[in-house]
Symmetry: C2
Subunit: 594 residues, 2 copies
């Protein structure tokens, strides 16, 4: 029951839907011809399917082991797979060639990221966080810091971590207590305890670069007194190699519901030597570079686990013989029909396709905008890219992980009792996926970020631009063939716009109205965005079929697009009705009544 990486679907997205070759004239896309992309997809599929996927269950069952010398051992096989990962240059696909990366567009890198996360989420988090550390130093570090750390992190020879959370503060980083004392030589002594540090200790890399939030002695309380530090496990020597052991250590591992193969560490900094990144007290803004990148990655994880779970469910549904079709036997020579004949099984599989393929398109479409935000020669395109990246990040993170988890749960349901046993892979997908709704800001925080910050940013330019784009698409595709897709899309867009207006009018009067509406609004937004993706995919598929293409993927896209409009999108009206009732019923009870 192996995971099959969605190579064909990514080729559809990159070649047919997003038409990557349109950008061949841009330097950033120069190395991303479809021939090269096809080859990368094939190889990524092979590597993740053959090397990472077989270790997924091993990691879940074995977990990581902490020893009294503060070392951590990753599950059997992880070390060798990590070596192959680094040797293949995989995690650096999207990184700067100046620092060991391959400089490909992020939208191409997305394909590899999803495949490796679906194949082995716990494993793929090690390079994922390293890439985050790389990005933060690239944005905020001095030239000397970049020269010293980026080649090691960009090549994934060293690992990277995010040291944010303390036991009394996660979301509210303003409360953090880890201290930094300047030593007068440009270094600081960092002291404090951090929890939930993914990959905080491991045996995969020769060094680990911790990016640590701490408060410099005397700095103001709250978020305006937080600085960001580099705290390497081994302090680099004059040649840039791991030198003196720093006083940072792992005190233990967290027992968790899932992602057992990833070491979730308690990390103690005991007057560890650290180097300031960027300015004093401005650490959060750099950390948010990592955070935003991580949030997009987490949205992707939701879809990745859902894809893997869907595949397991589809295979089970085609194999398992049980009962007969309501419309007469479909496997008359067998003892029973495969359960895929039952409409309620189809419902769960089609829901999965609608969310996974629609969500993947949404991720890729946004990632392309992200690439164009820097790569485009056109100012308006760059601005739109920035606007969309900011606006869509909380939607991608919150909506795709909420829905991805539901897909995993439905995939378990398709399995019946088998799904609840650890003999089948779906329990692990469900358990692993669950963290994606929580980390890098819970989905409730994403919803607040969306309604509280992103909607109003630049006078609402991002969301207004998105509405205008939807209107233009609906208007341009009012023909009979596209109407079944653009009509429901137009209706959903109108509901989303109504909700947006409601928020503007009522959120200012009483901020609790915005908080009370936030999660329903985020889902209304996500449902509308996926309707747009499915309408665009339907259009692309229609064009391909009209041009004589016979690959069944196009008929499949049309069928799932129709399903999405009929069976997923109608949820929007209930979301709108709920959010418009405001905060009153929700806040009516005193806290002590709970």
């Amino acid at each position: 029951m192996p995971y099959t990486p969605p190579v064909r679907d990514y080729a559809f997205l990159l070649r047919d839907l997003l038409e990557l070759e349109r950008y061949a004239n841009l330097p950033a896309f120069a190395d991303a011809s479809m021939d090269v992309v096809d080859q990368i997809l094939q190889e990524a599929g092979r590597f993740t399917g053959e090397v990472l996927a077989p270790l997924n269950s091993v990691g879940d069952k074995e977990g990581c082991h902490w020893a009294a010398d503060n070392s951590v051992t990753t599950p059997k096989g992880f070390k060798e797979a990590y070596r192959q990962l680094v040797d293949g240059g995989w995690p650096g696909l999207g990184s700067d060639p100046a620092y060991g990366g391959q400089g490909l567009p992020h939208v191409v890198n997305l394909a590899f990221s999803e495949m490796s996360s679906a194949a082995n989420m716990a494993f793929s988090m090690y390079p994922g966080l390293t890439h985050g550390a790389y990005s933060a130093i690239k944005v905020g570090g001095s030239d000397a810091q970049k020269d010293l750390y980026l080649p090691k992190l960009g090549s994934f020879q060293w690992g990277g971590t995010m040291n944010l959370t303390e036991s009394h503060c996660g979301t509210d980083l303003g409360l953090l207590r880890t201290k930094a004392v300047p030593q007068g030589d440009g270094t600081y002594k960092i002291s404090g305890q951090k929890i939930w540090i993914s990959g905080g200790e491991q045996d995969l890399t020769e060094n680990i670069v911790h990016l640590v939030l701490a408060r410099i002695e005397g700095a103001p309380m709250g978020t305006r007194g937080i600085s960001l530090f580099i705290v390497p496990k081994f302090i680099p020597d004059a040649d840039g190699n791991p030198g003196v052991r720093n006083s940072v250590k792992c005190l233990g591992l967290e027992e968790k519901m899932g992602i057992h193969g990833n070491a979730t560490c308690v990390i103690a900094h005991e007057e560890a030597t650290g180097w300031l990144i960027g300015e004093e007290n401005r650490g959060l803004s750099i950390m948010f570079v990592m955070m935003n990148e991580a949030r997009l990655g987490v949205g992707m994880q939701g879809i990745a686990q859902a894809e893997a779970a869907y595949q397991a469910a589809a295979e089970f549904a085609k194999d398992r013989l049980q009962g007969r079709s309501l419309t007469g036997p479909k496997n008359p020579d067998g003892p029973a029909d495969p359960i895929i004949v039952h409409p309620d099984i189809r419902r769960m599989l089609m829901d999965a396709r609608a969310i996974v393929e629609g969500g993947r398109a949404f991720l890729a479409w946004t990632a392309l905008h992200g690439d164009l935000a820097t790569a485009s020669p056109d100012e308006a395109t760059r601005q739109k890219g920035h606007d969309y990246m900011a606006l869509m990040t909380p939607v991608l993170k919150g909506f795709l992980t909420d829905r991805g988890f539901t897909v995993c749960s439905d995939a378990m349901q398709v399995h019946g009792g088998s799904g609840f046993t650890e003999h089948f892979p779906v329990s692990q997908y469900l358990r692993d996926c669950r963290i994606a709704l929580i980390y890098e800001g819970t989905n409730g925080i994403q919803a607040l970020d969306l309604v509280g910050r992103k909607l109003a940013a630049d006078g609402g330019r991002g969301v207004m631009g998105f509405f205008a784009e939807l209107d233009a698409f609906v208007d341009a595709n009012a023909d009979d063939e596209m109407k079944p897709f653009t009509e429901p899309l137009g209706k959903a867009k109108a509901e989303l716009q109504e909700a947006t207006m409601w928020l503007m009018q009522n959120g200012l009067a009483n901020p609790d109205n915005a908080g009370a509406a936030s999660t329903d609004y985020l889902h209304l937004f996500g449902l509308t965005a996926l309707a747009y993706m499915w309408a665009m995919m339907a259009k692309t598929a229609q064009a391909k079929i009209a041009a004589g293409e016979s690959d069944p993927i196009y008929a499949g896209k049309l069928a799932v697009a129709r399903y999405y409009m009929a069976r997923v999108l109608p949820e929007t009206s209930g979301r709108l009705a709920k959010l418009k009732t405001g905060a009153e019923t929700l806040m009516a009870l005193p806290a002590e009544a709970f």
Copy 2:
């Protein structure tokens, strides 16, 4: 972070909402005066909270152990707790006094069942299945079988199991292969392997009575050739005590995502001696006595886990200081506000209350109808009781477990990262709860049972009676005070009726339409039923408040009722819209496209 049994809420339901004392003149209710009931609730709360709850995490972490001699050891403390359970007469609250029970109405027993399930789901399944075996023998067994087994099962001195599933058949029992060969002396030799047998082996009771589905040699294939047998682990001797060891044994335990404290066994019958219950080839109908009882119990489990998870979340939300209220500090002297000030946290807690308290009322209301189905002197009341029990069983099982699981997941979300660690109890609630959506017929099977059998039964008498009851309630409560509740209830009822009509018209023309609509229909039904419960609870609370009662429970019921109408019920319209699109988009793709 202990679980607090909902003693107060059950007193509200039994005394205020269902007014149990109205039935004091019926013999079956004679021992259930509210004084006695109050005492039972208090004691049940004490026993489940103090004895069972502390073992819940132990059971999860330790699990059951199988040994090569085919024995199974339950987690530490289970044996002693089981002894106390039996000594207290708890599991027999609702059983016949002739066989060791206390003969109380099932609606009273429900309170204890929920509390023990919430306190320790894995533990409470042992007596739960024993009660099922008791019921099946009581309904289908001969007088001799009743005399021999019921005192032992009714007192819970012996355990009971359901041996249905085989590796190739679960839902489709017609495929089962376990063989029964008549020996000419009234006994049969039973051979075959059963899987997923909860409590199939354990160290809690001196004997285990397996109820086994098997096919008598030469019987027809399919469901019409299945008989039900008693296969005791130790064959009772002349005095009715455990005698010769039967050749039935546990070959191993299943590794599962949750309910680790319950032994899920592979059971081999190797020419085991069995006794036929009832007639040859009519075993399924008796097994369905167990099954229906079990389904109601599973619906209750969904609510029980949700209650426990809600309590953990509410406590966490009141304790955890993080961030500030959007409307200004609520804990200005502290470093931050408790997270319960945030509307999105309230949303999850209020959703939980709406589902748990509404679902509990729905369970109790149905259980009372079940009691009246036999206890009432009035023919019409008895018939209504039977109709409602049959109609509501799939709704209670499917809707309350689906929603209960969502409540558990939201409760984890309230915990943030802490919830994903096994240091907090909510991961166990989520993992344990998940099986309730699957066993005793997956929720998809419940939905099919509802639309395929229950709606049409007796010419639709049950559902028509329910609609008439809703109409009468809405008409009788159209005053200004009740309108905020009966108006949305009336709207939901109209949508449910429209869906029912659509099913009648379109389900016959194409049965796939019924299958395609089934899950949305079940949720539409459940949402409407809970709207009725909340409207009734609001009316009761209003009356109590008007009468000068100052207990905050009444204001709480009104607040949650308003929340339910504003924030939960609006989902119905999307459900209706989806189901009316029929099977077409859902069945469009060929099986090989998945």
